[in-house]
């Protein structure tokens, strides 16, 4: 992953594709740094309903070993998961706390 994350920098016109397209998967372009609120899941209350996973607009929630896990490389902190969680077990807390 790390080597994929080097900045794409065109030097010449020939390097540029005809239309605006990334040269590789946008997995190489982490956007987690945009976040100022981060979701924290209380797994003791989680009923594994997958609603947070379905609603995340950035597909930044992975399903690992039967539980939701937030991918902080891509979560922008929108809070939709917390809003939609039927058990209200996702809390949005300030970054850096």
């Amino acid at each position: 992953m790390a080597k994929d994350r080097k900045k794409i920098d065109f030097k010449k016109m020939e390097e540029l594709p005809p239309m605006v397209m990334s040269l590789r998967s946008m997995a190489a372009n982490p956007t987690g740094s945009w976040r100022n609120l981060k979701p924290v899941i209380d797994l003791s209350q989680c009923i594994q309903c997958t609603i947070c996973w379905k609603f995340c607009p950035d597909a930044a929630i992975d399903w690992i070993d039967g539980n939701p896990v937030i991918n902080m490389d891509f979560c922008k902190g929108c809070g939709i998961c917390a809003e939609e969680c039927p058990k209200k077990c996702i809390e949005m807390i300030k970054e850096g706390k």
């Binding site: 016109m13 239309m19 990334s22």
Partner: protein, 383 residues
């Protein structure tokens, strides 16, 4: 195989022969029969394609953009308000370099509400990055759809095939339907280098800073310039396979003509008829039918008009407060290359018929003048 068909069905057969894979369209008079027949052809499994019924023209173009991005040969057809509703996505299709082909049946813009022909709908989309090809017969319509994919897929720019409402769309004439095997040989399957591929993911259309935006625009412009080269190159290739020749412009008796009519669409066809009658009276008149609006054929226009003493541009459209749109285009191409007086006439808006007599009247008026004394002249309007 020869078959008598309406212009709209010529489009459907053209798309079928081109083996389009996705058709997304919303019906609008006078385009309806295009998609009606295509939906039947797809339902009868004579064409292996996905027919997507959508809720608007905006969605139709969105679906074509999605399909084309995935590497499918995509097709749609519309008219007037429908084309206007697509406007945002016309820019998107061209900017994303998707070789979509669309037929637009020229219908005048409302209000006042109308279904009849003029060219303001398509000409208003001049700057969206779509090639535009204006046809004068049902045969040309069918052939142009096939040629359009060839050129579009070479340069990765979309094409709009344009034809007049009713005077082509609903007019029956004999059309030669080429053999599928010949078309397959002429137009190979679409192999899109930049297609969406889950195994090799990319993101498309992302934010581009001022550092690079212009470079994408240069690439589009260069693609359009290349498209002109390809259109010229395809003309003899197409002729060799199918026996019919289509250039950027279609000159008729212009070489020794003192006065040249510059026209387009079915009005150009009638102008050709009028030229024969005027020649019979000894008048040295010719007709230059404009076929391709974008990419604009500067060299051909200058070459064909170089011997004229007077040039008359007949527009079935108007840019309010300026000239007819073809007049702007042609005058601009001549600037610095010609001192010949250029007369601009506006005729046939909203489906008003353009008769041979219309041209006789225009010629009679121009004969009396050394140079235009008005920016434009309205033809056959109420006093």
């Amino acid at each position: 195989m020869k078959k008598v068909m309406m212009g709209n069905h010529a489009i459907s057969y053209g798309a079928t022969l081109a083996r389009v894979q996705v058709i997304a369209a919303y019906p609008i008079t006078p385009q309806t029969q295009v998609v009606e027949l295509l939906s039947e052809i797809v339902a009868d499994q004579k064409l292996k394609a996905e027919f997507i019924k959508v809720e608007s023209e905006h969605s139709a173009m969105a679906a074509c953009i999605g399909a084309s991005s995935a590497g499918a040969r995509a097709f749609t057809a519309t008219s007037a308000q429908g084309l206007a509703l697509m406007h945002e996505l016309l820019h998107w299709a061209a900017g994303a370099r998707l070789p979509i082909v669309m037929a637009n049946i020229n219908r005048a813009m409302a209000p006042p509400w109308t279904i009849w022909t003029d060219q303001n709908d398509s000409l208003s989309q001049r700057d969206t990055g779509w090639m535009q090809i204006y046809c004068q017969s049902n045969q040309e319509v069918l052939d142009s759809v096939i040629m359009a994919y060839k050129v579009a897929e070479k340069v990765l720019m979309p094409v709009m095939i344009v034809l007049d409402a009713f005077s082509l769309s609903h007019t029956y004439e004999s059309v030669d339907i080429p053999d599928q095997a010949l078309v397959d040989k002429y137009l190979p399957a679409f192999d899109y280098k930049y297609k969406l591929d889950v195994k090799n993911p990319h993101t498309y259309g992302g934010l581009t800073t001022p550092d690079w935006y212009m470079e994408f625009r240069i690439k589009m412009h260069e693609a359009m310039e290349q498209a002109l080269v390809e259109i010229k190159k395809e003309a003899p290739v197409f002729q060799k396979v199918f026996g019919r020749f289509y250039d950027t412009v279609d000159p008729y008796m212009v070489d020794d003509a003192e006065t040249v009519l510059v026209t387009s669409g079915t009005a150009a066809s009638t102008a050709r008829f009028a030229v024969d009658q005027l020649r019979a009276e000894g008048k040295k008149v010719g007709n230059l039918r404009m076929r391709v609006l974008r990419p604009f054929p500067f060299a051909d226009v200058r070459q064909q008009l170089k011997n004229a003493k007077k040039i008359i541009i007949v527009d079935r459209d108007i840019s309010y407060g300026y000239h007819g749109i073809w007049a702007q285009e042609v005058k601009s191409a001549l600037y610095g290359h010609s001192q010949v007086p250029v007369f601009n006439f506006i005729a046939g808006l909203g489906g008003r018929d353009i008769f041979p007599e219309t041209y006789y009247n225009i010629i009679a008026l121009v004969e009396k003048k050394d140079k235009p004394d008005q920016e434009l002249y309205w033809v056959e309007v109420k006093k």
